[in-house]
Symmetry: C2
Subunit: 129 residues, 2 copies
């Protein structure tokens, strides 16, 4: 029988969260949650992460690009969360791109940029970036 309680202890209070676009299947980002942000995600039905820099991080609070939660999954070890979301504004990445995974590589050293920004981070985040 696989564990049924999310294991926040293993990662020192944090679990990795994979965020996937519920419509396209595209993987948008990887972030972390602690118990508080997981509870806030459940309560608000929007993705709320935990950032060592920001603390409780209500995704899209500044940019408007919040994520409505359509599904919450755990893996067999109950130490990773998969979130299926609707991405408002069409861009998950702070660079203004649809996904944070906008670069690929053949050799693991040279990285090719595959997409352009949808929004201009300077305009959205202003001088705070």
């Amino acid at each position: 029988m696989e564990p049924t309680k999310i294991d926040f202890e293993k990662g020192g209070g944090l679990v990795p969260v994979i965020t996937q676009d519920v419509d396209t299947g595209e993987v948008l980002m990887l972030a972390y949650m602690n118990e508080e942000s997981f509870r806030e995600t459940l309560r608000t039905k929007r993705a709320v992460y935990w950032s060592r820099r920001r603390g409780l991080w209500r995704k899209g609070e500044e940019s408007g690009n919040h994520q409505d939660v359509h599904g919450i999954f755990i893996d067999c070890d109950a130490d990773t969360i998969l979130l299926k979301v609707h991405q408002h504004g069409g861009a998950a990445c702070h660079t203004g791109r649809r996904t944070c995974f906008y670069r690929d590589s053949e050799d693991g050293e040279g990285w090719r940029t595959l997409m352009e920004p949808i929004f201009d981070p300077e305009k959205v985040y202003g001088a705070k970036k």
Copy 2:
């Protein structure tokens, strides 16, 4: 300009790797790589992870369910890898299921199993499990 070199230092030598089915878009699992396993993944064109328990972990070596790599992506911070793979045998999870994310929840406490195993772990892994 976003970083172009994978940051193995941040996670004490390990980076999280999201593995996605290149055909269906389904997220299969989350695992970790160190530099050695990343190099082995590039060299063999099959997913090779790093496990604290197993060390260098050539996925599918025991079960036959190896993963052919079709794409390697990094995120904006260059501290997470996304791998697009063809999953041999149709199951990525050690429970015999297609994906490790085979359970979902409405309330974050009760988890519902969404799919049945494709293979019998007892037969594949035998007494070693």
